[in-house]
Amino acid sequence: MIRSDLPHRAELLDALIWEGSDDDRKRWEAGPSAPAGASLMLVLRELPDESLAAAIRQGFLVKPAFEELFVHRYTAHLARWFYRWGSDSHAARDLMQQLFLRFYQRRLASYQAGDSFRAYLYKAAYHLWVEKVHRAHRPFPLDNIPEPRAGIAGPVPQAEAHELEERIDTALRRLPPDQQQVLRETMAGRKANEIAADLGLSKRAVFMHLFRARRRMEQALGVTARAVPKG
């Protein structure tokens, strides 16, 4: 497969996920043009989180979509989140494995197609952390905020947070207008269907803009999604 084909193939697969029927998807999987193995992984890499999550819910390309979404795309994020919440590396690995296991077993049954997958995952991870680490030790959780690590003034110290905010704003201003608009709307707390209605786009297109915007932002901010490799 030629790399220049990737956006086109990703677009087709995305449409199949959002607009195709189960039969359409089965026919596609059985067809001769369906990529497999490493080629398929390259195509999946071009799909928004929400499309991969929708595919998993549909039982379509579950294993490779799971690999791309959770292992490749979010292992590093999860590690950072758990770190910032104060977990040690052993606890973080345990929590991550529990999350992956639950999500795989349940095929994301509680994820609402159309919601931000990242926010959903963050919330699930946070609550697992609260249940397993935070609340397990003491009855009154406001007493439970972990001590900052030596040499770090807090999970996101204010000075660092301020600097990062500025970097985020700078990176945001450099996005292409359509991606910038979708990301700004999302940051303002609006849902994909509301943004889609306002901008006259499909929800699928909103997710694609959001995905590309996030990827550009992360590249600009040095957020390497694949830095921590294995779940």
Partner: protein, 258 residues
């Protein structure tokens, strides 16, 4: 919904130098020929038994360790429903306040806590009328220390009693179970303060607070017993009960008592 900007902020690698590097290094690497994680999970759960997979495992200590970890996680997984936790509507509050504290956004976190401060003060035997002073004290303290780790409620209260009231300690040291009526009162008061509620509903809630009611369903009994006579319909009362119950869960989560 968790804020998109915060998610981005928290995904940036921490500037922790060696500490973060050590943390990150504890995650084993995945080699190009390693199987999909889903295959490892299925193997761990006994849902698959692929010869090629076993062959790979024989030569890959990382994957063997992962299968074993998933096996252990599978044993304990039945106890917890991670996804159901994720979809509970009130979870936004819990995530919100801890996210804010962890991010150093103490002002927002304190705003969320503010309505509950009078009840918290009463629970430790201090005058609820000191809520304003406590609020200002917390603002100053968290601003000057700039450390989310200082957001310990009993410690705040102790410091407040010592520094502002010149007491040796708190008059009362509540046990975890003592917080249940506090949570209920917080919920009643929060709904009572809502501008959309009628005077009748406010009076009904005040009656519940005065009588030390801890179960929102008891509101209907109070209504039928004619306390705030005829001012609240049955349908209205059921709506308020649901609202108080939701609020109660929210407060309980906030204090970690559920």
């Amino acid at each position: 919904m968790t804020n998109e900007r915060d998610l981005l902020l928290y995904s940036i690698p921490p500037e922790g130098g060696a500490v973060w590097a050590e943390f990150e290094a504890a995650f084993p690497g995945k080699k190009p020929d390693c199987p999909l994680t889903a295959d490892l999970i299925e193997l761990a759960l006994g849902q698959a038994d692929d010869a090629r997979l076993r062959e790979h495992l024989a030569g890959c200590a990382d994957c063997r360790a992962l299968v074993e970890a998933y096996r252990r996680a599978g044993t304990g997984a039945a106890e917890a429903d991670t996804e159901s936790v994720a979809e509970e509507p009130n979870s936004v509050v819990l995530t919100g306040i801890f996210t804010m504290l962890l991010a150093g956004r103490t002002e927002e976190a304190l705003r969320l806590l503010q309505p509950y401060l009078p009840e918290v003060l009463a629970a430790v035997g201090l005058d609820p009328g000191l809520a304003g002073r406590l609020w200002e004290f917390l603002r100053q303290k968290l601003r000057s220390e700039r450390r989310a780790s200082q957001a310990s409620c009993p410690e705040w209260l102790r410091d407040f009693a010592r520094e502002m009231l010149h007491r040796d300690d708190l008059p009362r040291q509540p046990q975890p179970e003592d917080w249940k009526p506090v949570v209920a009162r917080c919920a009643f008061r929060k709904v009572q303060a809502s501008p959309e509620e009628t005077d009748g509903v406010r009076r009904l809630l005040q009656t519940a607070i005065d009588r030390g009611v801890t179960n929102p369903s008891y509101l209907d009994f109070l209504r039928l017993s004619g306390d705030p006579a005829g001012a609240v319909s049955g349908e209205e009362c059921r709506r308020v009960i649901r609202k108080v119950s939701r609020e109660e869960k929210r407060v309980a989560r906030l204090f970690g008592l559920n």
